[in-house]
């Protein structure tokens, strides 16, 4: 191979590369340690605390590296497999943060059962590792590695409560569909390799075999298959059919994990792949993106309209949101790449915060009611505003953020996306975004109104409506922080974008 001397040089891990990669190394080390911990003593409390500790340290380390003098632009290349830049760090921060929240929230769910749930925590760490590999990957091999690590660990997690009604169905469905998606992706990668003879994202951008000439058949089919594999994970229409069922059937913290960690990681790698290979120069690729984006916006929003189950509703709304997010892939030139990244990361963080907030309240309401087996319907949030002000205000804010109303981060995210779309003059996508948001309001607003409804009728029936919500101080504090941060970042988005730009 012609590139062999370069590879030979880069195989050695220099001190700088070691530092740059340290969050992921630390995470892997933590996984080994927690395995040892399990072998030493099986204690639910200990493993949970240890997992939180590992994630918190990783998060802090990543934040520290972000604030340090990190190379902007091309980032640090670590062997041909990995490339770490600011944006991967930022995505990793988002991932670690949501995983930390997931682990903290899981305790209340797991407490109710008798077993010691070591595997649960271990699997979550593996999911985060998979996501971490994805966000730094610069090569189809590492992409596939991360993808599989993420999917297989998630399969274990979605069916974790095996006595639950939907557990087997959910796990099985996810396993089959996820395996199908990854095999599609693998085939796509093989096709791309057959054309370019290289699996690295970066190298092919130097050669750019398809940027000037029209796509050859194998290459275009390859890209299409690769994209459909990723689109499956992002549950973009028409690859979305699994997501409502899996969202509904999984334990609530795992649903949150899927909605945040898995999607943020997949989207980051999608952007990385598309930007470093200049797919955006290719008109037919942009056309495909546009069609998928429009479909996702419409399908997600329209199907969410009649949903009464909050988890299913969130699944459909997330389909729509990733449809909106695809707008960032339609960049016009290399100069606007940074702006696209900024928009994507901002939108992702807004989406993430909103999801975390809604799922936190969802978990609290699940815990506060008598029967654990069934799913939460919107009607159970009846009059929440008059019962628990904090939880309700948090939900309202998050839903407004998802709907993209000013004062919230979601609006600024949408503003970025619209900027991007106007720059690229993609009027179809703009129309989709506008119409999609319009439809979206028709199911977001009723949720908010439900929170305000009086629950006199419910109380007289003696249902759960009259119960007072009991929330631990720690959780209240966490919810309060979420609320304040989403408000502050919504009004002063510079605080976030400075962090992204630096």
């Amino acid at each position: 191979m012609s590139a062999s001397p370069e590879i030979a040089n880069s195989v050695i891990l220099s001190a700088e590369m070691f530092i740059v990669l340290s969050p992921i190394l630390l995470l892997s080390f933590g996984i080994v340690l927690s395995l040892l911990l399990i072998a030493w003593r099986r204690s639910q409390k200990m493993i949970s605390l240890f997992t939180q500790f590992i994630l918190a340290i990783t998060l802090l380390l990543t934040l520290h590296l972000l604030s340090g003098e990190l190379k902007v632009g091309s980032g640090t290349q670590i062997t041909t497999l990995l490339n770490v830049d600011r944006f991967s760090y930022l995505s990793f921060v988002l991932i670690c943060f949501s995983a930390l929240v997931v682990v903290s929230l899981s305790r209340s769910v797991l407490k109710s059962a008798v077993e010691v749930h070591d595997e649960y925590y271990l699997l979550i760490l593996l999911v985060v590792l998979g996501a971490g590999i994805l966000v730094v990957s610069d090569h189809f091999a590492s992409l596939f590695l991360g993808f599989e690590l993420l999917s297989i660990s998630l399969v274990g997690l979605v069916g974790y409560f095996r006595e639950h009604k939907h557990a087997v169905e959910t796990g099985f469905k996810y396993l089959i569909l996820s395996a199908t998606a990854s095999s599609f992706m693998l085939l796509g990668i093989a096709f791309i390799y057959s054309q370019t003879g290289n699996l690295s994202f970066a190298v092919s951008s130097n050669v750019m075999p398809w940027s000037e000439q029209p796509l050859q058949v194998f290459n275009s089919v390859g890209i299409l298959l690769l994209f459909s594999g990723i689109a499956f994970k992002l549950s973009l229409a028409p690859f979305h059919f699994w997501s409502p069922d899996i969202y509904q059937g999984s334990p609530t913290p795992i649903t949150l994990l899927m909605a945040t960690v898995s999607k943020v990681a997949m989207f980051t790698v999608l952007i990385k792949c598309c930007f470093s290979q200049n797919y955006f120069n290719n008109e037919s690729f942009i056309e495909i993106i546009t069609v998928v984006a429009l479909l996702s916006m419409l399908v997600g929003n329209v199907l969410a309209l009649k949903q009464q189950n909050i988890k299913r509703l969130m699944a459909y709304s997330s389909i729509a949101h990733f449809g909106y997010l695809l707008i960032v892939l339609t960049v016009s030139s290399l100069q606007t790449l940074e702006f696209a990244w900024q928009g994507a990361l901002f939108y992702l963080s807004a989406y993430l915060l909103a999801n975390i907030a809604i799922f936190t309240v969802l978990l609290i309401s699940e815990k506060n009611r008598s029967n654990m087996s069934e799913d939460i319907h919107i009607t159970e949030w009846h009059g929440l505003f008059w019962k628990n002000r904090l939880a309700a205000v948090l939900v309202i804010f998050s839903i407004l953020a998802l709907a993209g109303i000013p004062l919230t981060m979601g609006f600024v995210g949408k503003f970025y996306l619209l900027n991007q779309a106007v720059l690229f003059k993609s009027w179809w996508l703009i129309a989709g975004l506008v119409i999609g948001s319009g439809i979206g309001l028709a199911y977001y607003l009723p949720i908010i109104f439900t929170l305000f409804k009086d629950d006199k009728t419910l109380e007289s029936k003696g249902g759960d409506g009259s119960r007072v919500y009991l929330i631990a101080i720690g959780k209240q504090l966490f919810m309060f922080t979420l609320l304040i941060s989403s408000l502050v970042f919504g009004i002063f988005p510079d605080l976030v974008s400075q962090f992204i730009y630096r």
């Binding site: 407004l400 503003f415 319009g438 510079d494 400075q498």
Partner: protein, 482 residues
Amino acid sequence: MMLTFVIFGLLFCGSLAWYTDNKSFLGVKFQARWVALVAVITFALIFVFSAYLSPLSFLTLQMITQVSWINSLNINYAIALDHLSITLIILTFFLAVICILVSWGEIQEKSGFYYFNLLATFVGIIGVFSAVDMFLFFFFWEVMLLPMTAIIAIWGHEKRYFAAIKFFIFTQVSSLLMLVAIIAMAYIHQQQIGDLSFSYQDWLSLELNSDIAQYLMLGFFIAFAVKLPSVPLHSWLPDAHTQAPTAGSVLLAGVLLKTGAYGLIRFVLQLFPQASENFAPIAVTLGVVSILYGAKMAFAQTDFKRLVAYSSISHMGFVMLALFSFNEIAYQGVIVTIVAHGLSSAALFSLAGMIYQRIHSRNLSDMGGFWQSAPRMGGFGLAFAAAAFGLPGLANFVGEFLSLVGAYQVFPMMVILAAFGLIGSAIYGMVLFQKTFQGSSLKAVEDLSCRELIISSSLLMLLVILGLYPNLVLQYFRGVIL
């Protein structure tokens, strides 16, 4: 500085009203309505005096405050005032007092949160009338929407959720179109001048390609036409007005609709003069259709508030017609119509609220013969109905007359058609009055209380003063050429 102080002060007092409602401090029992009333009156006085004493001449836009807000996109917190915005803000303050007074007895439940929403809506409206950074403008545009929706959805009548969602979706979708236009303008500025700018004053100097200008103008126009509202984008209005609580209807008809007119004057006509002129025939046709359709629909209604709501569509048609005739007299007519309609529709909706409180119905067939038991209310009812159909001597007449006279020079045929709307307005005005106050007395109602007398007489007084001496407002708009 003082405007910023007013904006944030009102917001703070809103939260204060929410927080202190029904709580005792130092032996004093606080009530949200008192906090709100005192706050609004205080800030109104502060605003009026500082505007009056200000050395600035408000003939053109005067920048009041400019602080950088989002650096990465060059967005500023920039507010400015001229006579137009000052007039509208004073109208807002006046109706704000009316709103609080009409809610005095009506809102019993969750009153703290109610007054917070009410004050937050005022904040949004005042912001809309003064923002000159387009991002900020959009921000306030949405901020006024949220609490308004909450007011409709929580304290409204039987079909409030449907009405609130409809209202929100209409305004939100149309304002997203405006947002796209705003972003496009910012990038055009970047192409021509070199840096991204959302400042209204910067945009005035742009030279737009006529095709692009046409589309961008349409983006703004749709957003404002929904708010105004103009046929065919009006269908949210009858529902929202009917289902809202009294103060909500007063606020919607009195000021919120005026933000649409304000937007047309300030942004559509100023930023895209050529494109607006090309679009004028369509806009004027829409205006005339609104006049006739609103009047026709109004006298077919059996619901008091719905009738008044359709009459608003009809009146706002005059604004559209006059604005797109690009004529000084017509423009003055627009200003008077805006103020007069703000007062007269607020009066009619307050009246509807007073009747609703007595008989718990808005249906005209449940009313009749109220004159016998409540002659004062009947007298005010007659005067307000007369104001709505444009009786000379009351402010609406001046506005509509000037509008028609001005527009006649440009679109004579359209004005002749529009004049038929005046006949329609006489019909629905009389229908409203007769069905409510005349005929056989179905039930006896209490006459106006002292508080209601204050509301009605202050509104009527202003309508008469403006009707007899319109120069009070017009002196500030002399020689303004669109």
